[in-house]
Symmetry: C2
Subunit: 220 residues, 2 copies
């Protein structure tokens, strides 16, 4: 189930450390994370982060010489928490590998509805705002996308022979990410869930056709 997270147990300590970090540094990262998510990097001032974290200027710059260094740490946090906070709960609720993909998508759907489209994909937002900034930031974003893509690809690989052999699992997983990010963007712009749902519906239809495909005799 977790071939791709072989070092998961080793990660566990770090996860607790990251998720429940109430140190000055940890509070700064969490405050920055929330503000960047809601407002973006540029719109968020250092002062806002300081206020939200209850930290003084001197302390911030002791840990993070530049505002951008904070962003790098935020991206690191997203990466660390992906499996324990996003993927594992889905994998526990749902067993069928294909259903798991749609449950991951459903997680983003719920976020859109619950926040009334004020929260988008944290990574996607930063991807478009920051991709021409430092290479370290862009790499952190790419790493996050790769984490998601890996999780989804794992599902398709776990589906085994239910998917025709000719289907490229890697590309299909990328396509799921594409649909997710594009769907979130349109849904937020329209403030309607339909564009997101339309994308997922198309994906569902497409995959169900693959599962029931001609060269596939024992499909679901």
């Amino acid at each position: 189930m977790k071939d791709l997270a072989t070092d998961y147990q080793g990660l566990a300590d770090k996860v607790v450390e990251v998720a429940e970090d109430v140190s000055t540094k940890g509070r700064l990262v969490e405050a920055a994370r929330e503000l960047f998510l809601l407002q973006g990097f540029e719109k968020t001032s250092v002062k806002e982060i300081l206020n939200k974290a209850g930290v003084n200027s001197g302390s911030l710059y002791y840990f993070f010489p530049k505002k951008e260094d904070l962003l790098v740490e935020v991206l690191e946090k997203y990466k660390t928490l992906l499996w324990p906070m996003v993927i594992d709960p889905v994998f526990q609720r749902v067993n069928d590998p294909i259903d798991r993909v749609f449950e991951i998508l459903n997680g983003y759907r719920q976020m859109l509805e619950m926040t009334q489209f004020t929260h988008g994909c944290p990574i996607g937002n930063l991807a478009l705002e920051m991709s021409e900034r430092s290479d370290l930031v862009r790499q952190g974003i790419a790493d996050n996308f790769e984490g998601w893509q890996l999780a989804v690809r794992q599902c398709f690989e776990d589906a085994g022979e239910r998917l025709p052999q000719c289907v490229d699992r890697d590309k299909l997983a990328t396509f799921v990410l594409t649909t997710m990010e594009g769907g979130v963007m349109l849904a937020r712009a329209y403030r309607r869930i339909e564009p997101f749902d339309d994308g997922v519906d198309m994906l569902r239809l497409y995959i169900s056709q693959l599962l029931a495909g001609p060269e596939n005799n024992s499909g679901n």
Copy 2:
């Protein structure tokens, strides 16, 4: 061919007016457009816009009381130029309605490659950066997406009976937009064209299956 742009001839004057506008106002909008595209709204200062346009502060604020008003005008410009600058050239090069859809997608692909991923989708960038800003801005973004969606939907409608009747043209067009925006985002993050191509490939396969299978079932 242009059922959806019935007032096109009437638009023509406005298009020329907008595209070749070298007035102070026009230069301001064009300078702002280029800078917003490359840097985003927040990162771009009014001073930069002024320098690029060769205009003084007083003139800008004579036309646009707020920086955000400039953005609204930029979005208006994108909307006005969509057909003459993007859609019409594609429709002239390519006749087959399905091929037209992929030629539209190919336009974005070329932009990604030519600019080495520094330019993304102008609307997509602003959508994620500004969707929680004023409602006027968000509406301008939604209007632009709608323009693109309409053009793509037109193609699918022009495909007539080649597409099974059960296929929802509207949703399929939205799905194309979703794929385009998601693909652009991932390609920029990775600085590789493959994620974009993967999405388009999947879309192509999906649509070719729709075109081929007359007994294709389960519209949604």
